[in-house]
């Protein structure tokens, strides 16, 4: 299995949509073959259409707000005492997370194809919140499927979705989290694909959704490349990019533009959710060697039992609480371009405390996983190493959990 240079990773799949011959694909009911093919044709045209790119960039700049900040975390660097620690503050984006890029692109595409309704899944609520914002902006009706358990633990985002006029549909089946929300969203699309567009909230699902999402979030690394050159005059000789990985949309977008660099120069570190310490129900299929299986239309490493039933996961962070992982990350793992590890719930909380103590930055529980590993590793790295963590979400949505786990003082500033 080999990563090709000079070709975007999203376009390195084969005729049937498999990366490396075995990850991804289109394991979908016959009914969805046609809408998926339509979407493929539309996307392949639009991604090289100058007018469309101009339109995308206009909304990214004026509405989402690009570029998001790239800042040095001076106090944290001093405290850790090793590599320079920087952050790409993607939570600056309108709505407070990277999910806005994919949502905007899907709405622009839905609008062009004459669809009136757009549906989407959500775990932490960010994908849903952003889709509801974009749908409102572009005049589309919006339905968001969300696990009942997640609705309870991510109330601020649920309120935001409703305020934007979206229907939030609770999903009571299975574990009542993201995995079931995605299944329910698919089911709705099967029954309504003639009138309705679907947005998959991460780089998961049938190949076309993986591609559209990866293409959209790549805005993050496009900006970062320019910011690095402005700051250092070149791409640093020792660069390490840390990112949390749930489905894998923010990490893929954070890394994409650096794909062709040697990994000795630009290393990618993906941090999965290890769940509560000692828990076996982690959400870290890459770290803990899960087997390949089929989930939501794509072949991927996924937590499952020997029969092929998908296993429930457990993580403090709803956005990472997913038993599978993007086919793109399976591909990056097996080609050894990226390295994957996991942080536990406790480690993520600890990292959140450290970051908020030293910096004026409040990463949500998802990027707190990445901060945890970055802080641990930065200690042992030289001063000329540049460590960057993608702070891809803001902790506002986690205030309930943070208050319960850490006490009121950690959420007071909200």
């Amino acid at each position: 299995m080999k990563l090709k240079k000079g070709i975007p990773v999203i376009d390195q799949g084969d005729r049937l949509g498999f990366w490396g011959g075995k990850f991804g694909g289109n394991f979908v009911p016959e009914t969805l073959k046609k809408p998926i093919e339509d979407l493929e044709i539309q996307f392949n045209k639009l991604k090289i259409n100058k007018n469309f790119i101009r339109e995308r960039d206009k909304y990214f700049k004026n509405w989402i707000g690009t570029p998001t900040r790239f800042i040095k975390l001076n106090n944290l660097t001093k405290h850790v005492g090793g590599a320079q620690i920087w952050s790409k503050v993607v939570s600056d984006a309108n709505g407070g997370a990277h999910k806005i890029y994919n949502a905007t692109v899907h709405c622009l595409m839905a609008k062009r194809s004459g669809k009136k309704v757009i549906i989407g899944d959500t775990g932490a609520g960010y994908a849903g919140k952003m889709l509801s914002m974009a749908a409102k902006k572009f005049g589309l009706k919006c339905k968001i499927f969300m696990g009942a358990k997640d609705i309870k633990r991510q109330q601020p985002n649920v309120k935001a979705m409703k305020k934007n006029g979206a229907d939030v549909i609770p999903v009571y089946s299975g574990s009542q989290t993201l995995v079931d929300a995605v299944s329910e969203c698919f089911r709705f699309w099967v029954a309504n694909c003639d009138t309705t567009a679907m947005c998959v909230g991460s780089t998961v699902g049938p190949a076309i959704f993986v591609r559209i999402c990866g293409w959209s979030t790549s805005q993050i690394s496009r900006e970062l490349k320019v910011q690095l050159i402005n700051e250092f005059g070149e791409i640093p000789k020792k660069l390490k990019l840390y990112n949390c990985v749930g489905g894998g949309s923010s990490s893929f977008g954070f890394w994409n533009e650096f794909m062709d660099y040697d990994k000795k120069q630009v290393e990618f570190i993906g941090v999965e959710a290890g769940g509560p310490a000692k828990s076996k129900r982690h959400a870290a299929p890459l770290t803990y060697g899960s087997k390949i299986g089929i989930l939501h239309g794509a072949a991927q490493y996924v937590n499952q039992n020997s029969d092929g039933q998908i296993e429930e996961t457990e993580s403090i962070s709803a956005g990472l609480d997913y038993p599978g992982i993007s086919p793109l990350h399976c591909f990056l793992k097996d080609t050894k371009r990226a390295r994957y590890t996991a942080a536990s719930d406790e480690e993520a909380l600890k990292a959140y405390q450290i970051v908020t103590k030293y910096e004026n930055l409040r990463p949500s529980l998802e990027p707190s996983h990445a901060f945890s590993i970055a802080i641990k590793e930065a200690k042992k790295l030289s001063k000329d190493t540049v460590v960057i963590i993608n702070s891809c979400g803001d902790a506002y949505k986690d205030r309930g959990i943070l208050e319960k786990k850490l006490g009121k003082k950690y959420v007071k500033s909200n």
Binding site: E30, T31, S183, D307, G308
Partner: protein, 266 residues
């Protein structure tokens, strides 16, 4: 010699009626009871679809999901499902059996092992909901080699060009999904329109047995008397759920329903 599935269609045709296909989930509500249900309904049905429960079903509506979750919760495993079929096949008036499920269960078992086990247990056909054409080309060939009918699905969104190519690659039986819906949806398209699509398929592929499924219930079934076969699933699963919550015997209630369905098309 005709395979058992084609034979069942032939027999129904001789009686001038469509074949009746039922769908029940293996292990719902228990291993023993699902076997009893199969035995009871095979008095009236011609072909039995046995659902292989999966916990992330992307095409099933509420009724079948409930049955599948119930079976999984009660501990059903792939090998138990093979055993249910094997035991059923030993019974006096057993009928052809078709497995219906999702690809990951086959993938984890290993395609070759799975087919070997199907053959041994007496499974006659397979419907794999999320393995569409052309992705299923290699696997369907393997099925054919093992004398197992791989059943291609067609839907209202299938283009004419695709339809021709799929039917060309199909075995003796084809499954037409009546409308854009998950299983158990209310019939939202007129029977006339469904039959028009059905006839289009029959015209392209007159020799293959084409069944219609999704939205077929006691209320709608008599609209489709002039077809090769009809599948009823969600109404049966619903009846099992209803019987359980009323503390009644699902075996008796379900076989009553299947008997009624059969009378409506006879």
């Amino acid at each position: 010699m005709l395979n058992p599935i084609s034979l069942a269609f032939k027999k129904a045709k001789e009686e001038k009626r469509p074949a009746l296909l039922t769908y029940t989930v293996a292990g719902d509500s228990s291993k023993k009871q699902s076997l009893e249900i199969l035995k009871a309904i095979s008095n009236y049905a011609d072909i039995l679809e046995v659902g292989v429960p999966h916990n992330t079903p992307v095409a099933d509506g509420g009724q079948i999901q409930t049955s599948a979750y119930r079976a999984i919760k009660n501990g059903i495993k792939m090998n138990d499902i093979f055993k249910i079929v094997r035991d059923f096949k030993k019974s006096k008036n057993s009928k052809p059996v078709i497995f219906m499920g999702y690809y990951n269960m086959i993938f984890q078992y290993g395609e070759n092992n799975f087919l070997k086990k199907c053959k041994k247990s007496g499974v006659n056909g397979l419907i794999v909901v999320d393995l569409p054409w052309p992705e299923n080309k290699i696997f369907s060939k393997k099925c054919k080699k093992n004398s197992i009918n791989f059943i291609q699905l067609l839907s209202p969104t299938t283009s004419n060009k695709r339809l021709k190519r799929i039917t060309k690659d199909s075995h003796d039986m084809i499954y037409y999904i009546s409308m854009l819906s998950t299983t158990g949806g209310k019939l939202k398209v007129s029977p006339k329109k469904i039959l028009a699509n059905y006839n289009k398929i029959k015209k392209i592929s007159p020799k293959k047995n084409c069944v219609i499924g999704f939205g077929i219930t006691e209320k709608t079934i008599s609209n489709f008397k002039n077809t090769d076969g009809l599948v009823v699933g969600s109404q049966i699963c619903k009846e099992i759920t209803r019987s359980l919550s009323n503390r009644q015997n699902p075996v008796i209630n379900v076989s009553k329903i299947v008997n009624k369905l059969r009378k409506k098309i006879s």
